[in-house]
Symmetry: C2
């Protein structure tokens, strides 16, 4: 059983596919909507919706703090959460290379199922394909998600100079975790990915005073702030001393020459909040586990660039990351 | 420009990603929901919904009658249509191998955009990832879709012995098209994929008397009928002489040893309809282009197996396809 391998038959749409869906997919994702096993899931939801999708190609597929299954569930949930919606339903689509271990496939599905349960979402439809002789070593996953909109947190027009910026977690952990694992770096303290569900942060905030949100995945904090700056004509002044980061992550970034502001996170969001309510919002966020290390890191300013105040008092510009820092990071 | 290649930077989440989204994705998929370019799309839809997803791994990515972009749009639209919903919104997620031609990537996106326009759906969110050194030769696409439910066509409980079966098109064209193209078979008349939007069939039917529907993709007609048989404890008697098939497709299946009933289609559905209304429904379906070759091919029976009446008067059982007939067919 341990050595059973994924065969191309599993992706054929015939008996092997049906067996896989019954034995593995329904075992870990089981819910009455999914178990109807039609070509589509029927959903009865009312109100305005958020709809999002992401493909996950992370390599290695298992890493400290998570795996591609958990990442794929939380990744799309987080895109919904930062849009201002409560995640509700997910699709889960798996592309597995022929010859990949059956037991590892099951581990990924089990992990995705556990993540969905923790996030309170149902996986209601999906698809499995097997590709042979592609040279691909590990599975690829796509999730798409639907959430019930609570408050639109995606309206650039609401951002004004003077608004404060809350970073909900320490940074650069996911990227540095993947790099250490991939390169086989022999680091004393293993760096765990920050892969987590961000929704508790939004729930606890009650959305009051929160104007805009974005998770800082590929391209990190630098990409998010530059994109907002580009869209609004405004800018940011952030304070390096206030940016939470673990010592081991900081040292590894320095050692490998990465700017932690450009490194991917999978459990960190940037919130732009009303200045007057910023401390109250921060306190609420810090009361939930995923937001325990949240910090006020700076503010929106009228000058159209992203500026970082360094600990020695200088100011440097933070640019949009141009190239690919780390391939197959998420 | 013709020789520009996809670089890993395009999947970084930084400037190259933004440029690709602005220059290519928005150019072909452009609509006000997508152009907000947030992490999620806001949708204002009311009523019961259908939600579906599919990954597409077809190789080659360009084939007579279509390409992976068109297939990915119609494939998910068709899953929604056969569930009894009118397709409305799609996500579009692209995984491109590093070094793949930029112009071919653009062709795929353009083709998906044209297909979406023809099907009357909006592509409202998406994702682009680049994977390097994977050995993968051509892009993979995932689409997820939302449709407005008109009538649930997925309820096995409604199927009764005596109901008629309508096949909406000739069969085995998509599978035989991919095989000919892949194997470089030198066939006089090029076989085109049947890749098409099935929604006009359901719209024109008005859903009246239509009890159940399923598109016959991977595993073909044989897989659909066996799955229904498995779920209901009922069976089917279909008449080989009534099954529409093009001569060239038939000869190629015979030549290569494929059972056309197990070969994939991308523009053919099976409808289970009330016997008394079956001729009326068939006439309506034949009035739309995608249903022009539709035929009544048999009926539901109480014996729990799928039986085929052969032209010489015998009866043979049609089994669920077990292995993978054609890898990377859709």
């Amino acid at each position: 059983m341990e050595d059973k391998k994924i065969t191309s038959a599993l992706g054929s749409g015939g008996k092997s596919t049906n067996d896989f869906v019954k034995d593995i997919i329904c075992k870990y994702f089981g819910n009455s909507i999914l178990e109807n096993l039609g070509d589509a899931a029927y959903l009865d939801i009312n109100g305005e919706l958020s709809f999002s999708t992401d493909s996950f190609v992370v390599e290695p597929e298992f890493f400290p703090g998570g795996d591609i299954g958990k990442l794929a569930v939380y990744g799309t949930c987080n895109d919904l959460s930062v849009s201002g919606a409560k995640p509700k339903f997910l699709s889960f689509s798996l592309i597995v290379p022929e010859g990949y271990k059956f037991s590892d496939t099951e581990k990924i599905v089990a992990s995705a199922g556990a993540a969905a349960e923790e996030a309170g979402v149902q996986i209601v439809c999906g698809d499995t394909k097997v590709i042979s002789a592609s040279g691909l070593k590990s599975p690829l996953v796509n999730t798409a998600g639907l959430g019930i909109l609570k408050k639109k947190l995606n309206d650039y027009g609401k951002i004004k100079a003077g608004d404060k910026i809350i970073l909900t977690s320490d940074i650069a952990r996911h990227g540095m975790c993947i790099v250490s694992k991939r390169e086989g770096l022999n680091i004393e303290s293993e760096i765990e990915s920050d892969c987590a569900d961000l929704n508790p942060i939004f729930e606890v905030s009650g959305y009051k005073g929160v104007k805009f949100a974005r998770d800082a995945t590929r391209g990190g904090v630098a990409a998010v702030l530059n994109e907002i700056s580009d869209k609004t004509g405004l800018g940011f002044l952030i304070d390096e001393a206030e940016i939470p980061m673990r010592e081991d992550v900081k040292y590894l970034c320095e050692f490998l020459g990465f700017d932690p502001l450009s490194v991917a996170n999978e459990g960190a969001a940037l919130l732009i909040v009303e200045s007057a309510l910023s401390s109250k919002i921060l306190d609420k966020i810090k009361s939930v586990k995923v937001g325990a290390d949240a910090a006020l890191i700076g503010e929106v300013c009228s000058e159209n660039k992203v500026m970082l105040k360094t600990p020695i008092g200088g100011i440097r510009n933070v640019e949009m990351p141009v190239g690919e820092l780390l391939p197959r990071i998420c």
